[in-house]
C-alpha cells in the first residue's frame, strides 16, 4: 500500500486534458449531438407519452407534472454516464489499445498526471453535456434561474466522482468487456433507483435507505432542488457526499493504474 496517498501531480496534467480536448474538437458536431437530442427524446417520450398515464406526481408534498419531475434527473443521469463512460471505455481504449499513456510516459508527464488529466477530462465532458442539456431543457421552462446556474459546477463535481469510480475500474478490469459488470451491477441500478423516474418515497424504507447511499441519488436531489429554485442545507451535504466518493476513488484509481501500468 506504500504510496497509496502519496502522489505528486503538477499542473502538467492539463496537457493530458488538452490532448483530449483537441480530439474532442475534431468531432465536436458528433459529440454535441447526444446531449442535444437525448433530452428531447426523453421529454417527448415521458412528457407526451408516459405523462398521460402517470398524471401528477407527489414530491415532497407538492404536486408536479411528470415532465417537471424527471427533467432534472435527466441532467444528473447524463453527468453520471458522461464521466463514467469516458473514464471506462474511452480511457481503456487509450490506455490499452492505442498505448497513448505509454507514449505520454516517455515525456515529462507522470502516470499520476495522466490519470488526473483523464479524470478531469471526464468531468469536463459531464460539464459540456450538462450545458447543452440545460439549454434545451430551459427552453421548455423547466429550470429555475439563477439557481440553475449552480448545476454547472455541480456537474463538474459529479463528473469527478463518477469518473474516478470509472477510472478505478479501468485500472482493474482485465479486458474491455468486463466493464459490462460495473455497468450492470452499479450504473444501471443507479439509473433506475436514485429517485430518477419515481420519488423514493414510493419505495419501502429499507430500499430508501439503500438508495440514499447511491451517489446518483444525491446528485439527482441537488439538481432537482436547484431546478425548482430551492436552496437548503441538504445541498451542502449531498455535494459533500459526492466529494467523499471522489476523495476515496481518486486515490484508488491512481493506485490501481500504477499497479497496472508500472512494470
Amino acid at each position: 500500500m506504500r504510496g497509496l496517498f502519496s502522489f505528486h501531480v503538477s499542473q502538467r496534467f492539463l496537457r493530458v486534458w488538452q490532448r483530449n480536448f483537441t480530439v474532442y474538437r475534431k468531432t465536436w458536431k458528433i459529440n454535441f449531438l447526444p446531449p442535444l437530442l437525448e433530452p428531447l427524446f426523453y421529454l417527448l417520450a415521458f412528457g407526451a407519452g408516459l405523462s398521460a398515464l402517470v398524471g401528477k406526481i407527489q414530491y415532497h408534498g407538492a404536486e408536479l407534472s411528470y415532465v417537471v419531475f424527471i427533467a432534472p434527473a435527466l441532467i444528473a443521469i447524463t453527468i453520471m454516464y458522461s464521466a463514467f463512460f469516458e473514464n471506462t471505455f474511452s480511457s481503456f481504449v487509450r490506455m490499452y489499445y492505442q498505448k497513448t499513456y505509454d507514449a505520454m510516459m516517455a515525456t515529462p508527464l507522470t502516470l499520476e498526471e495522466i490519470v488526473t488529466g483523464e479524470i478531469v477530462w471526464g468531468a469536463t465532458k459531464s460539464v459540456f453535456a450538462t450545458v447543452i442539456m440545460l439549454v434545451i431543457i430551459s427552453l421548455f421552462g423547466l429550470i429555475y434561474y439563477p439557481h440553475g446556474f449552480l448545476i454547472i459546477p455541480l456537474a463538474f463535481v459529479g463528473g469527478l466522482a463518477f469518473g474516478s469510480i470509472g477510472m478505478f475500474f479501468t485500472g482493474i478490469v482485465p479486458t474491455i468487456d468486463i466493464f459490462n459488470l460495473p455497468m450492470f451491477l452499479f450504473i444501471t441500478p443507479m439509473f433506475l433507483f436514485s429517485g430518477t423516474f419515481f420519488p423514493l418515497e414510493n419505495l419501502p424504507i429499507w430500499a430508501q435507505l439503500i438508495a440514499s447511499l447511491l451517489p446518483l441519488t444525491h446528485l439527482v436531489n441537488i439538481i432537482r432542488s436547484l431546478s425548482f429554485g430551492s436552496l437548503d442545507v441538504s445541498l451542502v451535504w449531498s455535494t459533500g457526499y459526492l466529494l467523499i466518493f471522489f476523495m476515496i476513488f481518486f486515490p484508488l484509481a491512481q493506485h490501481a493504474m500504477k499497479k497496472r501500468l508500472i512494470k
Partner: protein, 311 residues
C-alpha cells in the same frame, strides 16, 4: 569507425549493476555500462535478451529493481521529470496517437514538454521535412505506411531537441530506402553532438552506426566494444562457409585447430589469416559450395549467442 577519441569524457548514461526482475524472472541481470556524450551506443541481443527492459529503465518507465542509474548526471530516482525534458524516446511499439493527424501528433506531443504552439509548429515543420513526411501533414496516422509511422515516431522523439536520443529498434519494418535515410539522419544528429542509444536486430545497422555496442543475452552483457574490434577479437577477418562438407574436410578442420562451427549441412570456419586456407579447402576438399567472405558483426553475434531460436 573508431571515432570514440573525438568525444569528450562527459558521461551521459552511467549504469551500475542495474537489475530488473519480474517475479521469478530476471530480465536484466546486473548490467553496467557507460555512454559518453556524442557517442552512438548500441544494445544488441536476441529476442527476450532484455534490451527493451533496459531501455524502459533508462527513461523511467520501469523502476529498477537494483543498482544505480544516472542519466545526464542526474540520478534517475531523484530527478526523473527533469531528465525526461532532455531526452527523446522512440519506443519499440509505434504508439502514435491515432485520433490525431500527423501534424497534430507532433504538436500535441510538444505540448507534453511545455513547448509553446508557435515553436511547436516550427519544430514540427522542420522535423517533418527532416524525415521526409512533409506531404503527409494532414493525414491520419492510420493512413501512413509502417515505415512512415516509424519515421514519425522518430520525428516525435526529436520534438524537444533532446540531448540524448533513446531508440528501441528504430528501423524495424522499414524498407532499405527508408532505413538508409534514417541512418543518414541519425548520423547527422550525431554530428550535431546528440548522444544516441539504440537497439537493433540489424547487424549491418549496428556496425554502420554504433561507435560502441554491447551484445546482451539472458539479461547479461556478453561483450562490449567497438564493432570492428569485436569482429577481429571474436571471429577474425574472414569466414569460410562450406555447404555439405565431406568427412575429410571436417577431419582436416578439426585436426588443425581452426575456430569453426558445425551446423550439420554447413560448416563455418573462422580464419584469422589470409585466404590461403580458403584456397586449400576449395582445391582439395570442396570444388563448389564453398564461400569466402569478410567476417561481420552477425558472425560475432551468432557465435556468442548461439543459433537456437528464442521464445
Amino acid at each position: 569507425m573508431a571515432k570514440a577519441n573525438k568525444y569528450s569524457n562527459t558521461v551521459v548514461i552511467r549504469a551500475e549493476n542495474v537489475r530488473k526482475t519480474f517475479g521469478a524472472l530476471t530480465a536484466v541481470d546486473s548490467i553496467s555500462f557507460t555512454v559518453k556524450k556524442g557517442e552512438c551506443f548500441g544494445i544488441l541481443g536476441p529476442n527476450g535478451a532484455g534490451k527493451t527492459t533496459t531501455i524502459r529503465m533508462l527513461y523511467g518507465f520501469s523502476p529498477i529493481t537494483g543498482g544505480r542509474l544516472e542519466i545526464l548526471n542526474t540520478d534517475i530516482s531523484q530527478g526523473l521529470v527533469q531528465i525526461k525534458f532532455r531526452i527523446g524516446v522512440c519506443q519499440q511499439e509505434n504508439n502514435l496517437d491515432p485520433d490525431l493527424t500527423v501534424q497534430q501528433n507532433l504538436e500535441v506531443y510538444a505540448r507534453y514538454f511545455d513547448i509553446p504552439l508557435p515553436k511547436a509548429r516550427r519544430k514540427a515543420e522542420e522535423l517533418l521535412g527532416f524525415l521526409g513526411l512533409n506531404h503527409r501533414k494532414p493525414n491520419r496516422v492510420a493512413e501512413l505506411s509502417g515505415g512512415m509511422m516509424r519515421r514519425l515516431v522518430l520525428a516525435r522523439a526529436l520534438i524537444n531537441d533532446p540531448e540524448l536520443l533513446i531508440l528501441d529498434e528504430p528501423t524495424t519494418g522499414l524498407d532499405p530506402q527508408s532505413r538508409h535515410q534514417v541512418w543518414e539522419r541519425l548520423n547527422e544528429l550525431r554530428s550535431r553532438g546528440i548522444t544516441i542509444l539504440l537497439t537493433t536486430h540489424y547487424m549491418d545497422e549496428a556496425a554502420h552506426l554504433c561507435d560502441r555496442l554491447v551484445i546482451m543475452d539472458h539479461g547479461r552483457i556478453l561483450v562490449e566494444g567497438e564493432p570492428l574490434k569485436l569482429i577481429r577479437d571474436h571471429v577474425g577477418h574472414n569466414v569460410i562457409e562450406v555447404n555439405e562438407p565431406n568427412p575429410e574436410l571436417r577431419d582436416y578442420i578439426c585436426s588443425h585447430n581452426f575456430g569453426y562451427e558445425d551446423l550439420g549441412h554447413r560448416l563455418i570456419v573462422y580464419s584469422r589469416a589470409n585466404d590461403a586456407l580458403f584456397h586449400k579447402l576449395s582445391e582439395e576438399y570442396c570444388r563448389e559450395g564453398c564461400v569466402f567472405r569478410m567476417a561481420t558483426l552477425e558472425d560475432v553475434f551468432l557465435r556468442l549467442t548461439g543459433r537456437e531460436l528464442r521464445e
